[in-house]
């Protein structure tokens, strides 16, 4: 990233209300020049509205939009140096591919478009298709035309509204890498709206998770996954197990918590909740961080790990790993993913087991929130 800030997107207190419904609550957001930024959330969370306010297709009810140092809040879309790749592409059906791509250049009065359009079509590998009409192309090709049509204008910011939603899984993976490659090549700021957490995590440098018109958390994909600060984020991005626990003591950088009969240790730096002694905290841990040991071998578990006793209620073999559901006193359906390296054949439903993991992989959240927030949305995505 450079020090050039002309491609920064700065939203200050931007909000959108429709009558009594608030689509986007006042929101401050800065997307630095040259970054790949994703707005992630379930449908209706306000992410597309936010994107459309940057494009100028939606007028904010409050707040301002800056591109670099320029206040563009009052500018109509055709005067903003941003371009959009629309959901389901919105290619002009009456124009051929060449004219679709040349549309923006021609509107700005550029006469000799031939070379630019040709180069752009080559970039997206559609040089051969220039004289075809959009409906003669496959979904993936149409998607690339939509990207080319926007990129040819060298916008300061490229906005992508669920651009891969209409493609099948395999093509989507391919296009994700393709878009990432193009972004690295042209160095333009990309703002990408998606409901697919995997897509957001693979492509973006920074992800903002939105829920009900607010940004729940903002950070790098790793940061969001490892240190979720709300149950919504923890559940929307992957799967999380939660244990309700009570703060017992603090020792150094760690907090010791009571849960069920046992004790759990949580690094204070990974706790997003207030930790007064006796206060409640939700202890979270990701399924793949947990190790599973048969109760007979419990003595072999190293000291200093968080431990929970339970019984396997379900196991499903999915190739690279096996997914277990474990019933325990503190959580009725603990999910555990175990890599299939050395399979312990005793780990069958009904077996008594000990779940254990490193305290460093534990995160703590405020207990005063819905444990299941974001579960449905995450599963649907």
């Amino acid at each position: 990233m450079t020090n050039d800030t002309s491609g920064d997107v700065r939203l200050s207190g931007i909000a959108k209300t429709y009558g009594s419904f608030t689509a986007v609550h006042p929101l401050d957001l800065t997307v630095p020049q040259g970054s790949f930024f994703a707005l992630l959330g379930a449908s209706g969370c306000g992410k597309t509205t936010t994107l459309r306010m940057i494009a100028g297709l939606e007028e904010p009810s409050a707040g301002t939009v800056h591109l670099g140092d320029q206040d563009v809040t009052a500018l109509p879309p055709y005067k903003r140096p941003v371009n959009t790749v629309f959901q389901s592409y919105a290619l002009f059906p009456h124009l051929d591919i060449f004219e679709n791509v040349a549309f923006g250049l021609r509107r700005r009065g550029i006469k000799s478009v031939k070379k630019q359009v040709g180069d752009m079509l080559d970039l997206v590998q559609l040089g051969e298709q220039a004289r075809k009409k959009p409906h003669q192309l496959s979904g993936g090709q149409q998607q690339r035309v939509a990207v080319a049509r926007a990129l040819i204008n060298h916008p300061k910011v490229l906005l992508l509204d669920e651009p891969l939603g209409a493609l099948d899984l395999k093509l989507r993976r391919q296009m994700q890498l393709e878009l990432k490659r193009i972004q690295t090549e042209v160095g333009i700021t990309f703002v990408h709206v998606t409901h697919d957490q995997e897509e957001a995590m693979t492509m973006a440098d920074t992800v903002a998770v939105m829920n009900a018109g607010r940004v729940e958390q903002l950070g790098s994909p790793t940061d969001l996954y490892e240190n979720p600060r709300t149950t919504f984020v923890a559940n929307f991005l992957g799967t999380s197990n939660f244990i309700e626990a009570e703060v017992d003591t603090k020792s150094g950088d760690d907090i010791v918590l009571k849960a069920g009969g046992g004790k759990l240790v949580l690094p204070e730096s990974r706790c997003a909740a207030a930790t007064t002694t006796g206060g409640k905290v939700l202890v979270g841990v990701r399924p793949e961080k947990i190790s599973l040991t048969h109760a007979d071998d419990a003595g072999e578990i190293p000291e200093g790990r968080n431990r929970i006793n339970g019984r396997i209620t379900n196991s499903s073999f999915i190739g690279v790993s096996t997914q277990y559901v474990v019933d325990s006193a503190v959580c009725p359906d603990f999910e555990v993913y175990v890599q299939n390296v050395d399979r312990d054949t005793r780990l069958e439903p009904g077996a008594d087991v000990v779940l254990h993991w490193s305290p460093a992989h534990t995160f703590g959240l405020d207990a005063a929130q819905d444990i299941d927030a974001g579960v449905e949305e995450g599963a649907a995505a």
Partner: protein
Amino acid sequence: MSTLTEAPPPLTPTAPEKKPPRKRGRLVPYWLLLPGILWLLVFFALPMIYQASTSVQTGSLEEGYKVTWHFATYWDALSEYYPQFLRSVLYAGSATILCLVLGYPLAYLIAFRAGRWRNLIMILVIAPFFTSFLIRTLAWKTILADGGPVVGALNTLHVLDVTSWLGMTEGDRVLATPLAVVCGLTYNFLPFMVLPLYTSLERIDPRLHEAANDLYAKPATVFRRVTFPLSMPGVVSGTLLTFIPAAGDYVNADLLGSTDTRMVGNVIQTQFLRILDYPTAAALSFILMAAILVMVTVYIRRSGTEDLV
């Protein structure tokens, strides 16, 4: 039509392949076509043949008519009534253009801006059909009556000065002038313009407008480069649905016009019903049909909407 003659897919995809089990299914398209074909045969093809034969007959009512292949009737009819032909094209053309000018903004409004008023406006567009064509045209006679408020207002605004300079009205009269006929035609055929326009505008994805807007097109350019080209199928079918019946219409010229505004429809009507010169009437009908066919073909070719429809 060609798809109908091809073998339809088997009714059940799991049907065994050994014997042709689709013998029955194969005939279904023809059965479906049958009622329509019969209808067209009896009520379109036969009358056409009958008319064609009438047009080349000679004789009189008393002695009866005989087919004598007298093609001169066509020439005579054309040379005698070409002013009415030209007038028909002129009036129908003006009415079509007026319908387009009035109907396009209306259809655009219904398609993109009407919101919850959409259905109400649609009903208002269709509402005139609930009354007879004749009654409505007669009502216009009252509206445009000499010394009435409409004529008075047009006079005060000096509109009539302009129209009489253009030769469309005479003095301070509107009734019995070309203007009245064109107004009547426009009024009567407006829904036939609005409905196809609305249908093709409504099919345009509003995101295309946004995309054009996003790609530096001002609202006027969006209309010129995206909306209008995409609505061409509606423009073409709307103008055809207006022009064709308007060119053959005689009611408006009869009720709102004078002897100087007679259109070819009036001539045909008079020949058939009053003078009882059936061959001339039939020949005029065929000339009108051929002329419209040629104009429509040229028009569709030139508007280049084949791959849009």
